[in-house]
């Protein structure tokens, strides 16, 4: 069973499927779920995690909810929460989760003090109500934190040892002004690799509720596929977290043109060539299935 643990789908902006627009996903742009399914089926991928893109408001999730309903048991969903609702996110989180298939919420910051030398009181962090409610309702935190907040995360993980936390994109926490797009429209992150935030992150392997996605290599590497300059970092993550807490993903659709979906299905074999078959099965899907509790049947 192969699971692509992080993809994005979006429809053209319409009244049926309202969403925000950006140069990366303009009004008439689309990455339909049928195109994703076509790529998955051609490459033997069974299930995927649809990560919301196109805005955090409830109505912005309409296409994501449509995909989850149309193809039950094929996908799980990750939603977004508007910043103005962080102080009282319960209703927003529940309404999305109750619509079916949305199992967690993505955060790009955690909202504590930037100065690591001041006392850290997690109850003062701006995302604390989200973590607290995730703990109550067993929602997953899908984390792509900025660098300024990286050192705050261990305090939250410690405070909520039952919240399942999935670090996005190789556990990189990008610095400010690090985001750009390349000439193919793909995210491009200017960051040292391995990231300096690793000193605040790698020790989280001690917490069994923390997992890491092996995805987004194209955005961090200085090389073309298979991104050999990231091999050592992949091995470090494997050594710390073990295959049972690593999840392969493609970051569809940004990778369709370069390197192509099929090549990304093989990227783990290229970067972690010494995996045994059990480890490979875990990273390519079984870890995501267990950690995220995918439905058994397709």
């Amino acid at each position: 069973m192969i699971v692509d643990a992080h993809v994005h789908v979006f429809a053209k902006k319409t009244t049926e499927f309202p969403r925000t627009v950006s140069p990366q996903y303009p009004e008439d742009g689309e990455a339909p779920v049928e195109l994703l399914l076509e790529q998955m089926e051609s490459n033997g991928v069974d299930q995927a995690v649809l990560t919301q893109i196109g805005g955090p408001e409830l109505e912005h999730h309409t296409y994501l909810q449509h995909c989850l309903k149309t193809y039950p048991n094929r996908f799980l969903g990750i939603g977004l929460i508007p910043k103005e609702k962080w102080h009282a996110p319960e209703d927003h989180m529940d309404r999305l989760a109750e619509s079916g298939g949305i199992v967690g919420f993505r955060l790009f910051e955690v909202g504590g003090p930037i100065d690591p030398l001041v006392p850290m009181d997690v109850t003062t962090f701006s995302t604390y109500p989200i973590w607290k409610y995730a703990a109550e309702k067993d929602y997953v935190i899908w984390l792509y934190s900025c660098a300024r907040d990286a050192h705050q995360i261990p305090f939250l993980v410690q405070a909520f040892p039952n919240v399942r936390v999935v670090f996005n994109h190789l556990m990189v926490c990008p610095g400010e002004n690090a985001f750009a797009h390349d000439d193919k429209g793909r995210p491009r992150i200017q960051t040292p690799m391995p990231p300096l935030t690793r000193y605040s992150m790698l020790g989280l392997h001690e917490f069994p509720n923390v997992a890491v996605k092996l995805a987004g290599q194209y955005a961090f590497s200085q090389e073309d596929w298979p991104y050999n300059d990231l091999e050592r970092w992949h091995k470090t993550l494997l050594g710390k977290f073990g295959a049972e807490r690593l999840m392969w993903a493609t970051d569809f659709p940004w990778i369709l043109e370069d390197p192509g979906y099929g090549k990304l299905v093989k990227v783990i074999d290229a970067l972690l060539p010494d995996l045994d078959s059990e480890q490979r099965d875990l990273i390519m899907g079984e870890a995501a299935r267990r950690f995220l509790r995918f439905p058994e049947t397709v």
Binding site: G175, E176, P192
Partner: protein, 239 residues
């Protein structure tokens, strides 16, 4: 300059670690503490900016180029309380690789985990960790696995949690205490769950070898290194 006793030398050979109590005391310690705090305050703004940019780690705060900031830091490198030990262990052929004037914030995890610094294929690699303030066992104290510096120790295991490492010993200490250790051995900073950041200075040394000498490394402080011993220690002359 203090030299190891036969007992200390045997302990070093057996365990790979030596704890020197009260290596810095009195007025000298007070001066070191004041210099540390002043230097950290001067560097903090740049550190915080670097954290936001992702170019500096938040999990530890190193004062950049300390040897160029104050001669007192230079005097720590060949301090009589431990320099003689390191010279003895390196067969009188020692070079400095670098200082780390380091503040370790409170954090629920260790920033490094158990690790050796170098493989046995490199020349003898040693560190001196000076506690600038008191470091309790839960305050990011140094941890070491005695005997793990030996070539037959095998690979350093990944353990969860950190304090389940078999055979490890934690070295809490008072301000002015110093831990000398062989960096082939498995070591870590234990988790700092206290209420205070840890303040310590880590000096990195190695037995001289041609590959590790960089005559330009400390050229900025060459005028402070006028004796033959210092010029050798700071790699200012090629051999």
């Amino acid at each position: 300059m203090k030299r190891p006793t036969d007992v200390e030398r045997q302990e070093w050979e057996d365990n790979g670690v030596l704890f020197l109590e009260s290596a810095i005391v009195g007025e000298e310690l007070t001066r070191l503490q004041a210099l540390f705090d002043r230097s950290a305050a001067e560097a903090k703004e740049d550190w915080l900016a670097g954290i936001a940019k992702g170019t500096k780690p938040a999990a530890h705060f190193d004062i950049p180029n300390p040897l160029e900031k104050d001669d007192f830091f230079i005097d720590l490198i060949d301090h009589p309380s431990w320099y003689g030990y390191l010279m003895d262990f390196s067969d009188e052929d020692l070079i400095l690789l670098g200082p780390q004037v380091r503040t370790l914030p409170v954090l629920p995890i260790s920033y490094v985990g158990w690790h050796p610094d170098v493989p046995h294929t490199t020349p003898l690699h040693m560190k001196a960790q000076i506690y600038v303030e008191d470091v309790p066992a839960n305050g990011g104290a140094f941890g070491y696995v005695p005997g793990s510096h030996k070539p037959d120790a095998g690979a350093c295991p990944v353990v969860r949690p950190l304090d389940t490492m078999p055979g490890h010993k934690v070295y809490p200490g008072k301000a002015g205490d110093v831990v000398l250790f062989n960096s082939y051995g498995w070591h870590t900073s234990m988790v700092n769950t206290s209420i205070n950041p840890r303040k310590s200075i880590i000096l990195i040394y190695e037995k001289w070898s041609k590959d590790r000498v960089a005559t330009d490394r400390y050229v900025g402080i060459a005028d402070k290194c006028t004796t033959p011993d210092r010029r050798r220690l700071f790699s200012l002359d090629a051999r």
